[in-house]
């Protein structure tokens, strides 16, 4: 049943999700939304991993193992990211990325 859906569809879905993620990271002002978009991009990668695993190498559980690993890293990244946002809020009283430009040279 699952083979009724061609592999490309999954890849297209992943690409679309990735693009949405990139757009969000680049265009949205809210740091929380940006973080969510980063998660979205990682999940697009996960879809790719799973799709390739399922269609090309369905024997082992390598794709799933990879994805679980990505999850762990993602969660750690989200933890750090949220901590950063909290720190940002405490020091700058804003989560708007437009207002954070201390890196300006």
């Amino acid at each position: 049943m699952i083979y009724g859906i061609p592999l490309e569809w999954y890849l297209i879905l992943a690409a679309v999700l990735f693009c949405i993620g990139i757009y969000g990271v680049l265009a949205r002002r809210n740091a929380v939304v940006t973080l969510m978009c980063i998660e979205l991009m990682l999940n697009a990668v996960n879809i790719n991993l799973l799709a390739f695993w399922r269609y090309l190498e369905p024997g082992g559980a390598l794709g799933q193992a990879f994805v679980v690993f990505v999850y762990v890293v993602t969660i750690a990244a989200a933890g750090v990211g949220l901590a950063l946002i909290v720190a940002l809020w405490r020091t700058h009283a804003t989560v708007n990325l437009e207002d954070v430009n201390r890196l300006a040279g």
Binding site: I22, V25, L26, A27, T34, G59, G60, A61, Q64, L97, E98, V100, N101, R102, L103, A104, G105
Partner: protein, 801 residues
Amino acid sequence: MVFNFNLLDLACFIPLFPLLAFVAVSLYAHRDRKLSHSLVIGGMLVALLLAQIVFWRAVTLPVGGGGRAYESVNVHWLVAGEERLTLGVYVDPAAAVMLFIVPLLCLTIFIYSVGYMPFDAPQVDPRYSRFFAYLSLFAAGMLGIVVFNNLLAFFISWEIMGTCAYLLLGSWREKACPGFDEITPREAGLKAFVVTKIGALFFMLGLALLYTEVGSLAYRDIFNPETLKRLASTPFLGTSTATVIALLLFGGAAAQSAQFPLHVWLPDTTEGPTPVLAMIHAATMASAGAFLVVRAYPLFQAAEVGVWAIGGVPFVAFVGAVTALGASLIAVVQHDVKGMFACSTISQLGYVIAALGIGAYTAGVFHLVMHAFCKTLLFLGAGSVIRGMERGRQQTHAYEFEEQEDAEGEREERSFDPRDMIDMGGLRWRMPRTFWAFLVGGAALSILPLITISFWSTSERVQGVGVASVNVLSRPDFWMLIVAAGLTAFYTARQLFMIFAGPPRTGAATHTRESAPSLTRPLVILAVFVVCLFWLGIPADFPLIGGLIPNWFHDFVGSAIGAGAQSTARLSGGGIAAHLQFPLMMGLAFALGGLLVGWLVYGLKPMRAGEMDRLEAGMRKLHLGWLHTGLRKRLYIDWVYRKTFVDGSIWLADALDRFDCGREEGARGVLDGLVNGVGSAGMVLSDAVAWFDTRVLDALVNRLAWVFGGLSNVAGWGDVHMMDASVNWMGVAARQVSTGLEFFDLRVIDGVVNGIGKTVRSLGGWIRPIQTGRVQRYLLIAVVTILALVLTFFMILQLNI
């Protein structure tokens, strides 16, 4: 494959509808409050109908081989390489009974919530829709626990509930002022989350071990006799695998159903909204912990947990009994309506666990179910009382504020809490419907331990192991439960009298009026159910009222473990040995004694305004004030945890912080010190090199210059006198050359060097605007660059091919 449709297959759709309601509300309907709660209630209504169908079908299911359990066709759910996890429904009598009560209670609570959080009021909760969405998800989690046929789905649903409890407890997260227990709702939610996660860790370890040993998590595979026998005979960590797994699972159950020593989260949940409390304490979350023990009951039977005993009491039963006794002791001194119920919940679930621990399966399930009913009723009643008090308070403010400037008014002004039972009194005539509902719930609650105790005397394990029932008196868990039964009756009586009897003790209580029908109607419905259902579970050997109707509950639920036939046989055998009546009589005596003492202390002469709690006063008089304080502080267990675990981890974090960058101004931490050390070492090194350069090298060079100077003086003498002419000529030539070189140097080389500098500067000036400091711009540049590179790459590929 012929698909035989069975009505029981509908069970898998039961959790689906609340889940759909959650999705619909949180994604689409959250702007419309009325639509939101209608969707949630509608989803639950459908679930209720399905659950009723499944329940009645399960009741009429013929007893097959392997007990009266039904399992549906499994679907492949998680496929990981060769491993396949399946998902299906599993309806055994215990699950059927849970299916009967859970949707009913949830629906009642949902309807009540609509009245409790008025959605058209001016200061409506901004998270109204979200609140209902979470409630719906919560219910979906509980229903998932009940119907699914494997422990992994159980665990997932369990975690959904834990998350929802956290989210719902934070509903009033703005409330910063410490409430009754000096903990903010946010902290209470966090505490509940963290403590139940400790349990979840145990649960997960148990699941991992189970999966390694059995290779499946489906009930059918785990709980069949061969597997259990194999697990029980496999040695592991000095005992059997079954024991270790059972203990790990019990760790999870203990955290979720708030058993000692992981009970600390439950009393603090009183900071949340009352309907949420009814969900957490009665209908879903805490009950789920006990339901895990019900589910894994065969495993617990196979394990040596029973043998691994404290004072002759099986471990699980011991924990339950200790919890029942300790929590009911704490409940006795509470002033907070909800806080008292919270402690009571812990205590009653202790009974459930104790009953399951000694093998009284039917008693455990019955207690679980009836407790859910009673406690939902009582919590909703408490919510009604609190709302009434709040309204009375507003009235007092509106009309009598000026008159209340005396000392009494001052006192009330400072410490008014609508949950404080000291401030109530006399609500009997002001809130009649709430009163009757409360009375029914309270009466049921105080009888409940009795029924469990009466099952105790006939429990399967006590008989099966061959322990004569007369030996009951020598068992500590029996005495703990009996005393707890007395305390239960006492605190129920205390509460009823404090809230409803006597004259009103504050202005707020005077102006209390009955709550709106939307609040009282669910109470009435629940009260009717409590009264009706109680008859089903009264054991046949209960004095006077026992045996009037057949004990249907025992037969049905007991059939899950093959005990029903035994009970029926006993019934038909007629009568029961007199010594088995003894524990029941003891329990009855204790419970009636508790009620009597409650009446004597609080009912005979109702408390007056400004009077100290009678119990507290009495204990003070007996020089037991320290005990009262200790109980009020929940035996300091929270305090100990705070001092050890919480402060310990804060200390650790501080220590790490200090290790990293140092706390005080000017002080350096080790890591920072290291980094700075490397820096300063570099500086020292470069200083040393500079010193070497200026002192040693320069001196050498100077000395050399001096030597050469001398030499050149000598040579100069010869030079001036002998070779001047030729040298002069050469000098003129050299000057010409050097002038040329200077020209070359100034114009060409300097020009190049300056040109590079100028180019870099202008490049910098050109790049400078890009350096906005906005990370997103940088990212944009990076993305564009990558895209350009990729494009180039492809173009090169194309060209090559």
